[in-house]
Amino acid sequence: MISRISFACSLFLISALNAGEWPQFRGPNGDGVSDEVGVPTAFGPDENVRWKAELPGRSVASPVVYGKKVFISAASGPRMDRLHALCLDADTGKILWHRQMTATGNTACHPKSSMAAPTPCVNADGVYFLFATADLAAFDLDGNLRWYRSLVGDYPDVSNQVGMASSPILWKDFLIVPMDTVGDSFLAAIDTKYGKNVWKIERPKDTNWITPTLRTVGDKAEIVFSAMKDTHAYDAATGKKTWTLAVKSAQVPMAVTSGDRLLLPFDGGLMCLKPDGDKMVEVWKAPKMATGYTSPLVYKDHVYGIGRAGTLICTDLKTGRDVWSERIGKGKGQYWASPIVADGFIYTFDDSGTGAVVQAGGEKAKVVSTIDLKAEIMGTPAIANKALYIPTSNGLYCIGGKKS
């Protein structure tokens, strides 16, 4: 059994190392939490906009930020087979570099999605773009192509009829690549230097839009990755399965960690798990926390979730007890973007561009401001440089009062 102190230390280290960055889907720890302060809480199409940039195609991915560089993907063309990897100046929105590839895999997806659905991830050595077509490219931060893989070329039965959207994550020198499809289906660790497989394990042949979760266990790390019928954890170093939990997945939202707790979305809501020897056991279940397309947010003593229609629910982290819920959706759109938080303020957006900033915690919901960016928002925003980087389906807003 691992002590809570060592868990806390590990998580603190991860947070500290990534301070000010937003290097992957849902931020440094994949939980939607930023340690930034001074991010605007009131803004609109003409208010507190530091810059706005157009993208060369449709994107439902999130931007990622490393220092003064923002990275985002897009896909264009009538068959959405032109893939774009972009780097923008974080302060001005100027495109610093733009690389293109031709999709080598299938380009089918729901009209709401895009081949640019997985979110890239970035570290000091490079930025890693995975597309729904299973094209995977690594660039250095200056846009030099370090390596490229056509995963459909490597594994021809990889399928993509429904718009694969699971994002890769980084652990040490490994890029963890989720590729759950009805054809070839696998989870792989690919070395970030030259793009070769370190380990690759078979996964159930089924569709899956979930992004894996990195969970630190003392000096080890494991990858928690739900499949349609159950959830598995794998040793990040070897790919060896460490535990399995037989619960049906929620298909889209990813799990998040908090200390030694694992908050796992399942098809009946949200489940809190804790380690017990070499397995995970249930602490509580919150049936109301069925969040649809969005992932849960854990911040301080509470867990937050927002459903498709826009009811934001606050749940006590220790007990799973409902604290408050507030219908913040205005009925204009559905929620695909996951909630994120900085400096005590939760940011939510629906696909009509309507957003709300809500004070975290408290006994009752307190909506600080409502926003209407009048643009389709599908991807989860990023927070860095005292700014929000909000992706629209064809552009990117940087919201920040002053340059950091």
């Binding site: 080598t104 056509s150 009805v182 030259y194």
Partner: protein, 381 residues
Amino acid sequence: MRFAVVALLTCVGLAPAANLEDANKLIVQLKAVAKEGAGNQEAGAAWKGLVAIGGDAILPTLNAMDDASPSAANWLRSAVNAVTEKEVAAGKKLPAEALEAFLNDLKHDPSARRLAYEVLVMADPKAPERLLPSYLNDASGEMRRDAIAAALKKAEKLAGEAAKKEYARLFAVVRDDDQAKTIGTALHKLGGNPDVVSQFGIVTKWQIAGPFDSPKGAGFAGKALPESKVDLKAKYEGKEKAEVMWKPHVVEVDPTKFELDQIGNVDFNKVLAKHKDAVAYGYTIVESEKELPVEIRVGCINAVKFFLNGKELFAREEYHHGSRFDQYVAKATLKAGKNELLVKVCQNDQKEPWAQLWQFQARICDATGGAVPVKNVTPVN
């Protein structure tokens, strides 16, 4: 091929021989990439070297795309992006004349020509106006699409017979479903007779056999009797021991509709009645006067296999994840004379309302998606 590039570049006075030699050595490394990341280490270094050469590397890199694998083509494409970006940032001139010559040389790979065009447009923003009218029937789908889009803007201003003639001209070269719908609808309103089936090579004349049993999807891997040998006079034991025989089926086409994914679908639920855990076959004959490279393109929401002259071309075991025009593409060669196309479609046992379709669409076309000179005949029992 390398000599041709050298000659071209020397003609326009662009690339010192040393740069060309260096570029070609580096390109070899990029084209050597193989499966599972093999060659990535060398290619990464070569990519950087190639980009460092600058503008002199553009034409050799485009030329190298002609016979590159899809993976290598992406290494090369992104190198052209990087070089171009660097040259523009440095205020250097892009080799417009050589790029236009490359674009106009139809022997080059269509995607490489398109990339040359995109770089050319950066150097010469007026190039589209000058060049696009001659690319209406181009091998590059993107060049063709842009050319048709430009022509459509002009066609919208025409009326009467002039408009009808122009829309008919555009319909004869259109490939993309959205443009086909726009042009087909307009032409029909003008009194024209756009024939989608002929234009896109959609197969409408079939023999159908089924249903055969497919418990828990076993029929996908298994072989019902028609799959081993098609005998149009045979009687088979089908699902629930019912007798199954081949029966002719001609798909009706509404000449006023131009949604390509809706045209020519063989709907087994209508032709055979609704069945679950079932397999059905469509069989047709295509006559070609000569050996002919083609693409067989199939759209199917169910698990599907298709065979040409007894050889399996494609298989995908996937159910109810959507279907679309040209969903699955397989390259093949028709022989002179009669060719047999067999399509196997498996239905599963999903109960959801959205999981009830059991159908397919097939067409035979060239690499651009245009019809080929073949005759689809109804096989006779």
